[in-house]
Symmetry: C2
């Protein structure tokens, strides 16, 4: 049952085998993909110094510890690298790759990459491995792009660490479906504030009773605080996308 | 094994039970989520007329046939709807929701929604159900947004149809890992053109021998043609994102 998911941030020092790594990437590859184009790539980080630099960007010490680190890349560069991309010329005239940089093509590659990420994660979890998905690699997108030598028409989406779990965290309760599952139109229930208050009690209980790092917390506070907690250089995501050749309509 | 994935586009007329639908949405909810914010929503399309309109947008007849149709929504609106979003005011002064419309928050909500989509899909497949993910609902984003009454700070990511399979399509071969899995930096192999040529033969064979709709096709041609095939109104994705209050840095 996929509901058994919990994020693992602490791994034993047992590395994955080459076969395991191959199979996880194969699982990512066998995800549904828009127009069969497989518009993503995966970079396996094996260089410890580089990994330390990525951990510094993410500001999470566990990123520099055990487990295999992968970075998932939205990739329209492959299509642009063909020696005779004749059809592109017909699209973009003087700028043959322009269409590949459209918001549409960015969203397509992002979808391919993120769906594949979750398939890799589900496959790892089904095999008894632990995973954590790292949005935090985007805390300094321009630096990460430089570190990974990402060419035009590629963009880093997230990191994933996979390894043998060395912790058993508790499950975190999710919001009631009435707050996020609607019928036919976007229509939260009239009493959604009451549902939110009830859920807040669950979240409060979770944070007050969990094994480590207990604190006073509520979902409402997390929601209200989310925008404020943004690290400064995440504000460069738009600029980074444009630098990489995406969002050409802007 | 997750590698057993194949997209199903034809379903029997046996509907899913309410419990199945609940469990699939629960699987989506239990996906890893950025900062525990669960920044996505799911709309279940049960109105046949609305579904016909969505099928018209997607230009795929099977979208209007059997199976349950869900639309996955990137959602920062929930956070903006709190009665006392005091912390937002500290961020955005006169425009309290501005930070929630940042490229960062769009990418965060997009990640949450797409990872959850794949978890729903993997859960359905593990239960013997079939699925298809629909990027095609974005062929006319402004119309879809209007049809679903999507408020500011929400955006449709994809559709998913889930049902009882009524076909057994062949597996589609994926590209060799040497073309998409790199170590430490983005670095395709020197002989990547040769690998592509070898893969092209596999793709050619697949299209030439599959059960239905056989044709002359190659991966190279699909790649080169991808940008050209874009339906006209997908060019409005950028405008639609801005209309919904995202990409505020633009």
């Amino acid at each position: 049952m996929v509901n058994a998911h919990r994020t693992i941030r602490q791994f034993t020092d047992q590395p994955l085998t080459a076969t395991q790594i191959h199979d996880l990437i194969a699982a990512a590859q066998h995800t549904a993909t828009s127009h069969y184009l497989q518009s993503f790539s995966i970079i396996h980080i094996t260089d410890r110094e580089l990994r330390g630099q990525i951990a510094a960007i993410s500001k999470q010490a566990y990123v520099d510890a055990n487990g295999e680190l992968f970075i998932v890349i939205a990739d329209q560069h492959r299509a642009a690298s063909l020696p005779e991309p004749a059809d592109f010329v017909a699209v973009g005239a003087d700028a043959p790759n322009q269409a590949l940089g459209s918001t549409d093509k960015f969203i397509q590659a992002t979808s391919d990459g993120l769906l594949a990420t979750q398939n890799l994660v589900a496959t790892a979890e089904a095999a008894g491995l632990g995973t954590v998905i790292l949005g935090s690699i985007l805390n300094d997108p321009l630096r990460l792009i430089a570190l990974l030598h990402l060419p035009t028409l590629t963009f880093p989406l997230c990191g994933v660490i996979v390894g043998h779990p060395d912790q058993t965290p508790q499950f975190k309760p999710r919001m009631p479906q009435s707050l996020m599952a609607f019928e036919n139109t976007y229509q939260p229930p009239v009493d959604w504030q009451d549902s939110l208050a009830a859920y807040d009690e669950q979240v409060h209980h979770y944070y007050a009773t969990r094994d480590t790092n207990r604190r006073e917390e509520s979902f409402r506070h997390l929601l209200a605080n989310g925008a404020k907690m943004t690290p400064a250089k995440r504000g460069e995501l738009y600029r980074a996308l444009r630098q990489q050749g995406f969002l050409t309509e802007a």
